[in-house]
Symmetry: C2
Subunit: 308 residues, 2 copies
């Protein structure tokens, strides 16, 4: 098997150096759908969650199957909304809903199974980080954890900031174009998406590569910073221990840094250096001469009792 | 797309006449797990359900992904039992569990996504039945509906009969070897599995082929007949309107009947002629000069309130 168990996707060898790439991920309303998220948005998110893992591996998704677990109280309009969301998620990422299954369940369940074909040698694993590599991300962090606090606890913030933060939760985007472009450069030594939070993703890459990370720039979204100031929250924590952010977290071979950066820009995105891979194990955030340990804590799905 | 939407599996074109075959099916405890079925059996069944659809299409499954939705009250032993059942189902059908996802749900959910590769021209669709073809099945019917009545309503029957009937519910077998062997003969014009009941499967093949069926032999299992006599039930109904039986229902080109029959036997199973495909639409059961309409009724999953 060319992709080890526990990486973001699974793979099955075909012929001529090609592999079938497979992924399944289950969205459950009580832990994955915050208040304010429509059924259409929830179904779209179920697709985006899966596409994001393909993006991290540099694999183009082709087709998806959906299992819907439907509570009794859903109306026909609700089902149509779910279908619209699934199609929107598929269309935005240039893939197709091929089929699926439905059943009656207590929770709303949207299980997406994603399929694509890739050249085996182009798949980027979690495990390739090497001392000296540049640690990079495709965007800024903290927006979704701030957005979730707004939706769950009804915290207040100015309309323009609120819009950005809430939108990041309700309409997440997978970095598919960036992921595909980056994998083609050959510059990426390891990659993962940040659906479990930036800190967790860094720990996973470090563990898989048997290396450490020294993070010197915190990629904090300015809207999350504003929100943290206003509510006297630790902005660093918002950025490190959030989740469901769907940015890519990568390590880049230093000699190919410029090529990688341009590839991300040409794909319509960006790539930002945030630190270095170290031979010494351990994950540290060093900013303005202050050193802080990055804990191996991940995003915890909000609990159902907070939501409904 | 070489497999139309609504057939038992979905397909995605690869190169050189090959296609990736995909299927997803969700097992939910409250509608799919009768009392008396262990967690290990439930997980195994979730695999068998999916493999049965591949069997009907003549496609060998290679790998599967699993999403587990786990209620809070499950113990570690329960999870191990689920894993054992998944592995048993995979091993029995010569395929591998590649990966998956877990989440917290109110019901126990076991969603299996199955993947395989096939030659496009070897996939048997629902839609090829032609007037004059022989209607055939790979086994006898009625056991699972009788078995379910025993489990759900605690009906009594002799120990040896009970064993066969209950076993058919708790340890269903997909007719994979037969399905693969039959598709290779080129004799099969249409095929479906009988998970929604014999009558429903016949109606599906008739609808897709724009033909009718005249059924002259009812493939009634002798244990189901004994059970029906004892409890004054209509044995014909048990056989026609049961479900979750996982036999194959096929139409066979008459010139290749002997070849098909031998292929099934050599695969360790059997193939039994039960009637003919007719140009005239409509589905009739004609036995001993009596004609009975086969209704387009399917198996309805038992309701949760009956079970727990």
């Amino acid at each position: 098997m060319c992709v080890p168990f526990g990486d973001d996707v699974s793979a099955w060898e075909l012929e001529n150096g090609l592999v079938a790439v497979l992924k399944t991920d289950m969205l459950v309303d009580k832990t994955d759908v915050p208040p304010g998220m429509s059924l259409q948005q929830a179904a779209r998110k179920a697709v985006v969650m899966n596409v994001s893992d393909f993006a991290a591996k540099g694999v183009k998704p082709s087709a998806l199957l959906v299992s819907l677990g439907l509570p009794k109280n859903l109306t026909q309009k609700d089902i149509v909304d779910l279908a619209k969301g699934l199609n929107a998620g598929a269309r935005e990422n240039d893939c197709y809903v091929l089929g699926g299954d439905t059943g009656e369940t207590s929770d709303l369940i949207i299980n997406v199974s994603l399929f694509g074909v890739a050249r085996e040698r182009e798949i980027v694993l979690r495990s390739g980080a090497t001392p000296g590599d540049i640690v990079a991300v495709t965007g800024f962090f903290g927006k979704t954890s701030a957005g979730l606090k707004i939706l769950l606890n009804n915290l207040q913030v100015s309309a323009s900031v609120r819009k950005v933060l809430v939108e990041s939760v309700l309409m997440p985007q997978a970095r598919l174009k960036e992921g595909l472009a980056l994998s083609r450069t050959g510059a990426v030594s390891a990659s993962i998406d940040s659906s479990d939070g930036l800190a967790w993703s860094l720990h996973e890459l470090a563990r898989a590569g048997k290396v450490g990370f020294l993070i010197e720039t915190l990629p904090l979204a300015k809207e999350a910073e504003r929100f943290a100031e206003q509510h006297k929250l630790d902005a660093v924590k918002l950025a490190l221990y959030g989740g469901e952010e769907y940015e890519l977290v990568l390590t880049i071979k230093p000699g190919l840094w410029e090529r990688a950066k341009w590839a991300a820009v040409e794909a319509g995105g960006m790539l930002m250096s945030i630190g270095r891979v170290t031979a010494r194990r351990g994950l540290f955030l060093c900013i303005d001469g202050k050193r802080r340990v990055i804990e191996p804590r991940g995003y915890e799905h909000f609990k159902s009792d907070l939501v409904r």
